[in-house]
């Protein structure tokens, strides 16, 4: 080995140590970055769970036990007894207002019971604590409550209860629930699906099976890709201008004679569903196009070879094979729509609704509810928001699980 070669070899060996060391350092950097992402997710979930369970101290304006009639406690009283209680304790104005929202004859017993609790007993939260505080400082909390609020009842409770899911909105945190919001979400999404799924799949079929490579069809394709990148709030503004304002007669239900024209605003579940439909349409189209494109040409050629027309081939061979992919993509798009908040705020979601919504009624949805509760400064509403978030995530998670199952169950390899 020549002198020159030897020194080069020496340099290489020396450098190699440094190069490997730098490589190792960066490997750790890359790994740590990845872990930070996962940690962020964990923290986010723990932060929410931390708020859903914990100590709550609350007291009623009057003791619930004072409403016992003939020895029957409030929980076991019949509909009529509850109704009499309401009539006796509410001002006639408030009574009539409730009656106008929904006639008392049509209200269920549990509904009336909730009303009595909300309007007459009026439980107020005087303090609430997170799970972490409740576990680590339990004795301080107990002392604080007994010294500051001797009448208050201290309970270790989960904010997410069956009652929370089943009861309606309320101005008091103890009795508030997400029933209206969940129903609102389901109805809105139903309309979104009915609108966006057929239109989206039809558009995908046109673009994949019929469209020739002309400038116009390329424009349509580029346009769809761009629409998928438009911020959701812009769709909200569009919905406000089109569905709420221009199509007000249709979206408020006046055309069908369902609603009194004087009070119609167009800020209905129908408008919300259609707005979300516009929002997820490009996503559904793009996903469906991919699944249709994945169906092998051989299937189409076989269809044509047997004398089927284009439409017959698409209907009997292409679509059934593409369907699992289309459905998976649609479900993912829908789970995106369920979580959307911004466009619905712009379209005009309401705050207080104390009845089950219909297509042409004012609306609120789960994310809207979370937003409104989060925006309030008091702690107890943050706990409610956390409970509503858990409900929201549970709905989305089950949808995503369905999508994954669907993909695994029906996925075919060619």
């Amino acid at each position: 080995m020549s002198e020159k070669n030897r020194s080069q070899r020496f340099q290489y060996d020396q450098n190699l140590v440094g190069r490997t060391r730098i490589g190792k350092i960066w490997k750790v950097v890359f790994l740590v970055s990845t872990i930070i992402g996962i940690l962020a997710l964990t923290t986010l979930l723990l932060n929410i769970l931390n708020s859903t369970v914990g100590y709550v101290a609350y007291q009623g304006k009057i003791m619930a036990s004072s409403l016992t009639i003939d020895g029957v406690p409030l929980q076991q009283q019949s509909r009529d007894q509850l109704l009499a209680l309401l009539q006796a304790n509410l001002s006639s104005g408030a009574y009539n207002k409730l009656n106008n929202e929904k006639a008392f004859q049509d209200r269920s017993r549990s509904d009336l019971h909730a009303l009595v609790l909300e309007r007459i007993v009026r439980y107020k939260v005087v303090g609430s604590w997170s799970l972490w505080d409740s576990l680590t400082q339990s004795s301080q909390i107990k002392n604080l409550v007994t010294s500051d609020f001797p009448d208050a009842e201290l309970k270790f409770k989960s904010w997410l209860t069956p009652d929370f899911l089943a009861s309606q909105q309320s101005s008091e945190a103890v009795t508030a629930g997400v029933r209206t919001a969940i129903l609102g979400t389901l109805l809105t999404i139903l309309i979104t699906i009915l609108f966006a799924f057929p239109v989206g799949v039809a558009a995908a079929i046109y673009l994949e099976e019929y469209a020739r490579d002309t400038w116009f069809n390329r424009l349509v394709q580029t346009n769809i890709n761009n629409l998928a990148g438009v911020p959701s709030i812009i769709y909200g503004i569009l919905g406000l201008a089109i569905f709420i304002r221009a199509f007000q007669k249709l979206t408020s239900g006046v055309l069908f004679g369902m609603v009194d024209p004087a009070s119609a605003t167009g800020r209905t579940i129908l408008s919300a569903g259609l707005t979300l439909g516009l929002l997820i349409l490009p996503i559904i189209i793009i996903n469906s196009q991919e699944s249709i494109r994945a169906v092998p040409q051989a299937l189409r050629k076989a269809g044509f070879g047997l004398g089927a027309t284009k439409l017959q081939t698409i209907w009997a061979h292409v679509l059934p094979n593409a369907l699992p992919g289309i459905l998976t993509g649609t479900i993912l798009a829908i789970s995106r729509a369920i979580g959307e908040t911004a466009p619905l705020v712009v379209v005009g979601a309401s705050t207080a609704i104390s009845f089950d919504p219909g297509i042409f009624s004012r609306f609120t949805t789960l994310p809207i509810q979370v937003y409104q509760w989060t925006a309030r400064p008091q702690d107890e509403w943050r706990h409610l928001a956390a409970a509503a978030i858990v409900a929201l995530l549970a709905i989305m998670l089950s949808l995503n699980a369905a999508a994954i199952l669907l993909r695994n169950r029906f996925a075919r390899k060619y």
Partner: protein
């Protein structure tokens, strides 16, 4: 793109000289074909509607005697009640949150992408990727809640609660970064994965270490995809609404200080339209003007990202 064109050419022609087919059947096919066509151009109608509505109401806004376009674009105060309509406070707040978000999302997202594509074993990749996808699928209002109830108290604890306001652009930006991280990671990882094995093996053959292969060979080859991912991330951050609506504060504020509250363009639109907005009021028109600005920003970024992918993509056989 290549794939699409190939399938288009291979596609059998529509049977025009179908001598054996009944006319009635062709009629039905044409009808359905037209319906499908209508669905196909529905997206064009959506775009036209967006441009028309934003343009029309923004035009009405700028025609008002209180407003002029130059002041709108350069004014540093947005106070509708005293007729000051300068959009800059809203724009700077958007830029501050976006900048902070990118400061977090770009390095972490790229590092995650490199780790997943170059270092991770198949097993760990198959567990980490779904986790990141879950992170990307959580509704943004949940991130807003996280910003307000976790990151803000954390910032106030670290920097002192007299420095950090309850509503501040910093915590909104940080959480926005966490939101966009998986987006950048996932798109960049796809780009890195698309780089052919032969390139990596050639670099290994020349004696490169794993890091050198990643930094000097794979990343340059995937640069167009990575750039597109970053631009998409920026566009997403500019249009992000609920995080800033919850955590960044209400009320326009012309400041670059991330510890102060300031309203972004999207946050302003949400707050103004939250109440019952009456049509043709100056507020109603103003959200369309701001919306138009927002739409132009994101559209421009999206087009640039598509251009980059098309122009600079390295094509491998």
């Amino acid at each position: 793109m290549n794939e699409i064109q190939n399938t288009m050419e291979e596609r059998p022609m529509y049977p025009t000289k179908a001598s054996g087919l009944k006319n009635r059947r062709i009629l039905g096919e044409t009808l359905i074909r037209s319906l499908l066509f209508l669905a196909g151009i529905f997206s064009i109608l959506t775009t036209l509607a967006i441009i028309y509505e934003l343009g029309k109401e923004a035009w009405l806004f700028f025609r008002l005697p209180e407003v002029n376009l130059w002041q709108f674009l350069t004014g540093t105060s947005w106070q509708p009640h005293i007729n000051e309509f300068g959009v800059l406070p809203l724009v700077t707040a958007t830029l501050v949150t976006t900048f902070i978000a990118m400061l977090i999302a770009i390095p972490l997202g790229l590092a995650t992408a490199v780790f997943l594509s170059e270092y991770a074993t198949n097993r760990s990749r198959n567990t980490i990727k779904p986790v990141l996808e879950i992170l990307a699928g959580i509704p943004t209002i949940v991130y807003g809640y996280f910003a307000l109830t976790f990151i803000t108290p954390l910032l106030r604890f670290i920097f002192g609660s007299d420095v950090v306001e309850i509503y501040n652009t910093g915590s909104a930006g940080i959480v926005m970064g966490i939101l966009i991280l998986p987006l950048i990671a996932s798109i960049s990882e796809d780009a890195l994965n698309a780089v052919p094995r032969s390139l990596r093996e050639a670099a290994y053959g020349l004696g490169a270490t794993r890091l050198e292969v990643a930094i000097k060979t794979v990343i340059p080859a995937a640069l167009s995809g990575i750039a597109a991912a970053i631009i998409l991330g920026i566009s997403r951050a500019i249009g992000e609404t609920m995080i800033v609506a919850v955590a960044a504060g209400a009320g326009p504020n012309f400041t670059l200080n991330p510890f102060k509250g300031a309203e972004t363009m999207t946050g302003h639109i949400v707050r103004i339209s939250g109440g019952d907005l009456s049509y043709d009021s100056i507020d109603y028109n103003s959200i369309f003007a701001i919306g138009l600005l927002l739409f132009s920003f994101t559209l421009l970024l999206n087009i640039v990202s598509q251009r980059i992918v098309r122009r600079f993509r390295e094509v491998y056989e």
